[in-house]
């Protein structure tokens, strides 16, 4: 279902993208060359890190015309993994992400501003816990080029800090833990 949705989305973006000469990249989640990580302070004493194991996405990117870049990522919130079963269960419950009600989180870019060679600021709608907000955060290209198996790849990284309250998550984790930092590492294979 998710695959079908993305394939459809893909063909639509691919069609419209031809004119702009930007290439479509499919995020290499099968080869696990992409990850969606998060980190949040534990009591203000250390960082607790976790990840979402299942997500899918694609992006449009052309080094010659970076302002045409766009990205769409769909995260399966039920795949949350902080390497601790009871904590995962709690984070997925109604106290936090309420994944039964909100099984996905999505990011869909609405704009991109180049801030230099291989750098930029991406703006888009982020939906988490049923709340959609427009966010802007810096992204950086790590590299791009041919891979040894006949494909062409490009990889980026970006991270942003979100206020949990902004997304309707108000469980009291203490004053040091009101925000969560989400980091996206993606490598895409040009289609």
């Amino acid at each position: 279902m998710k695959k079908l949705l993305l394939t459809t989305l893909f063909s639509v973006t691919a069609l419209t993208a031809t004119a702009a000469q930007a290439a479509t990249y499919d995020v290499d989640n099968e080869g696990a060359h992409a990850s969606v990580n998060f980190q949040i302070q534990h009591l203000g004493y250390s960082w607790l890190t976790g990840r979402f194991n299942d997500f899918d996405g694609s992006f449009e990117y052309d080094a010659a015309a970076p302002e045409k870049s766009s990205i769409e990522v769909v995260i399966d919130t039920t795949s949350l993994d902080s390497n601790h079963a009871e904590r995962d269960k709690h984070l997925k419950s109604a106290d936090f992400l309420d994944v039964k009600k909100y099984p996905t989180a999505t990011f869909k870019s609405t704009g991109f501003k180049s801030t230099g060679e291989g750098k930029g600021e991406i703006t888009g709608d982020f939906t988490l816990h049923g709340v959609t907000k427009s966010i802007t955060f810096p992204v950086k290209r790590i590299g791009e080029g041919n891979d040894p198996w006949g494909g062409y790849r490009a990889g980026f990284t970006g991270s942003t800090t979100l206020k949990l309250k902004d997304y309707g998550i108000d469980y009291d984790l203490g004053p040091a833990s009101t925000t969560v930092e989400i980091t996206l590492h993606i490598e895409g294979v040009r289609q």
Binding site: N83, A85, E86, D88
Partner: protein
């Protein structure tokens, strides 16, 4: 082995009586603790401790129930006091269900805590290793564990009601022989 520990064909020995009430007390305590601990929040002092106790006690209870079942197998079963064949069968089925539901509770509880591949430490004495791990295992096992717990309480209520019926309506020794040893 002293004979007063063992069952006879008409009554329970002290071992069966002790195990019955130990398990009853533990099951009620675990149910209460379970309901209570899931309502605790991050800043409650017992947020961590309650869960550790529930897990450790659960593993020990599983061992006690297994031992109790073995004891039941190697001992004579006191004959039923009800003459009604249907009631006899229903009682037998209910007792079997009590064991099965307890077993399913132990398994589902174990599968919640070990879903990420980490074992369960029992009061720091020893660790029960993880086996099965799967996607969303902690959520699925958690739902099953909660429904089984309520289901077991329903069955326990029926079990208690049946014991009281024997005592007050049939006026037989079914309840009394689980409270003390009856001499033949």
């Amino acid at each position: 082995m002293p004979s007063h520990l063992k069952n006879t064909s008409s009554g329970y020995g002290w071992m069966a009586i002790l195990l019955h009430w130990l398990v009853a007390l533990a099951v009620f305590s675990m149910f209460g603790l379970g309901l209570y601990m899931v309502e605790l929040t991050y800043y409650d002092a017992w947020y961590k401790g309650s869960l550790d106790l529930h897990k450790s006690a659960g593993i020990l209870l599983a061992l006690v129930v297994a031992a109790r079942y073995v004891w039941r197998l190697v001992n004579p079963s006191p004959s039923a006091l009800s003459a009604n064949r249907l009631e006899h069968l229903a009682g037998h089925a209910a007792h079997l269900m009590l064991y099965l539901m307890m077993a399913a509770l132990f398994v589902s509880g174990y599968l919640i805590s070990t879903a990420e591949g980490h074992g369960i430490s029992v009061f720091g004495w020893f660790t029960v290793p993880a086996t099965l791990t799967g996607d969303n295992q902690e959520d699925i096992a958690g739902d099953i564990h909660r429904w089984l717990a309520w289901g077991l309480m329903g069955l326990v209520a029926l079990h208690a009601a049946a014991a009281l019926k024997h005592h007050f309506i049939n006026r037989d020794a079914t309840l009394v022989r689980m409270l003390r040893r009856i001499n033949d």
